[in-house]
């Protein structure tokens, strides 16, 4: 029986500056964590966040680069405005805002992603299973109904 909370990690592929960290995320994430790797936080549509929540994630992490460090110059700036507001909005209809965490990473943040995920997992465990937002029917990768 699975007891660990399910966590979706939306990761900008440029934000982990240290190769060992990226290797860890790519290969060694615990099975309760699901990685979605993207070219940039600016590529994360709020719909993805909703899909993660409706797909059964108890918590969601968005990790990306700091301002002026974005590989595409300003993808992160666009992401911040949209996702902050999306969370305000989800909170308004009852979804706990604290189930989503932003992690903005810098060059010297080697090893930080592991700590953030562990810390976040502990917090989500305290909150318990997500009850707000209905869970959708399973879809297979590519979006076809299973």
């Amino acid at each position: 029986m699975e007891t660990r909370p399910k966590i979706a990690l939306f990761q900008c592929k440029w934000c982990l500056y240290s190769q060992p960290d990226q290797n860890w995320v790519d290969n060694d994430l615990p099975s309760s964590m699901y990685l979605v790797k993207l070219p940039c936080t600016g590529r994360i549509n709020p719909l993805y966040i909703l899909n993660a929540a409706q797909g059964g994630a108890d918590g969601i992490v968005i990790s990306g680069c700091l301002p002026e460090k974005c590989h595409y110059k300003e993808g992160n700036l666009s992401a911040l405005r949209q996702h902050e507001e999306f969370l305000n909005f989800l909170d308004y209809i009852g979804y706990e805002r604290s189930r989503v965490r932003f992690v903005w990473l810098d060059l010297q943040d080697r090893g930080r992603i592991q700590k953030e995920l562990a810390d976040f997992e502990a917090e989500i465990a305290k909150l318990g299973k997500a009850k707000v937002l209905a869970t959708r029917t399973n879809v297979s990768p590519g979006g076809q109904y299973a």
């Binding site: 899909n51 700091l66 300003e74 666009s78 507001e85 305000n88 209809i93 979006g143």
Partner: protein, 317 residues
């Protein structure tokens, strides 16, 4: 408002005769007296059917995006409609120089549901004069107060006067009170989480996915809406809990910084589902965080399109 309709007719006649515009988007009488319909006037003869009163439900800006950019469009606009037109100009959906806005300071749109609650379904006649509305039901005249019948969005309206209209028919009205909508949002926010979610569920989950709300909204002009996309399927397209919730969340969110609180979506919904409490929240946030109100001019980009490095201190590490 027969005088206003006459004045409007004269105005449109002139525009068409002088070939200032190719087509005028306005309302015409329909067989059902409570439901004037959007109409697209190109000939003077058709103007016979022109109608303008408090029952004109649609946001006419909705039809702007259906014309090629070189069509010269005349359009009758109330406060919210003019702002929707401005927002569409910002989004490059029609060039300003090919538009002619005939503005009408708006007394508010009446909610048909509020009328038939007081009478019954089969109303056969309608007229209004100032604050007096009279409808014919089962052969008898029923007198009602206009202010009792206003649609909820109009009760909260802050900007009844058209913005940037080329001509204004009638005297400008005093601005509405912007605290009304804020108080409504604060009242909702004061509920606890479970109550808020329960309310959201009660509304969203009655949805039959007819998409009338989308079709009524001037800002929902996407060639392919996210709900119609098949591979990948972003949301369930049936009336499952998850599907209806996703529809209500994302449709509203797509309007952030673009919605003018016209309420056309809510009026169009056959299930009488409340949804402006969602877009009003987003509008209010846009105002508080970015001092942005949709359509107050025709060149300011909405907040999600105008991000810049000024935001850098908001990246909390």
């Amino acid at each position: 408002m027969p005088e206003l309709t006459t004045e409007l007719r004269k105005n449109i006649e002139q525009l068409l005769t002088d070939q200032v515009v190719d087509v005028v988007i306005a309302f015409k009488k329909a067989d059902a007296p409570l439901r004037p319909q959007p109409a697209f006037f190109r000939n003077l003869e058709e103007l016979e059917d022109l109608e303008y009163n408090g029952l004109c439900q649609n946001n006419l800006a909705n039809y702007l995006t259906r014309y090629p950019h070189d069509t010269k469009i005349g359009i009758v606009v109330r406060g919210c409609e003019s702002r929707s037109v401005n927002a569409l100009i910002v989004e490059k959906q029609h060039p300003r120089e090919n538009l002619y806005m005939i503005g009408i300071p708006c007394q508010g749109i009446l909610d048909i549901r509020k009328i038939i609650k007081k009478t019954g379904e089969d109303v056969t006649g309608y007229s209004e004069d100032g604050d007096q509305v009279s409808v014919v039901y089962e052969g008898k005249e029923v007198n009602l107060q206009r202010s009792d019948l206003l649609h909820d969005s109009c009760l909260r309206c802050a900007h009844p006067n058209p913005v940037n209209a080329d001509v204004l028919l009638g005297e400008p009205l005093p601005d509405g009170d912007p605290t009304i909508v804020r108080l409504a949002i604060e009242e909702f926010e004061a509920l606890d989480r479970d109550e808020r979610y329960a309310w959201f569920q009660k509304e969203a989950e009655r949805c039959i996915r007819c998409y009338a709300c989308r079709e009524a909204c001037p800002m929902c002009y996407c060639t392919e809406c996210f709900v119609d996309h098949a591979t990948p399927r972003w949301t369930e397209s049936d009336i499952s809990q998850a599907g209806t919730q996703a529809w209500h969340i994302i449709r509203a969110f797509h309007q952030a910084g673009r919605c003018t609180s016209c309420g056309a979506c809510e009026r169009a919904c056959p299930m009488d589902i409340k949804m402006t409490y969602l877009t009003d929240k987003l509008n209010n946030d846009m105002l508080e965080v970015y001092q942005f109100e949709t359509g107050m001019d025709d060149n300011t980009q909405p907040p999600f399109a105008s991000f810049n490095l000024d935001d850098k201190n908001r990246f909390v590490i």
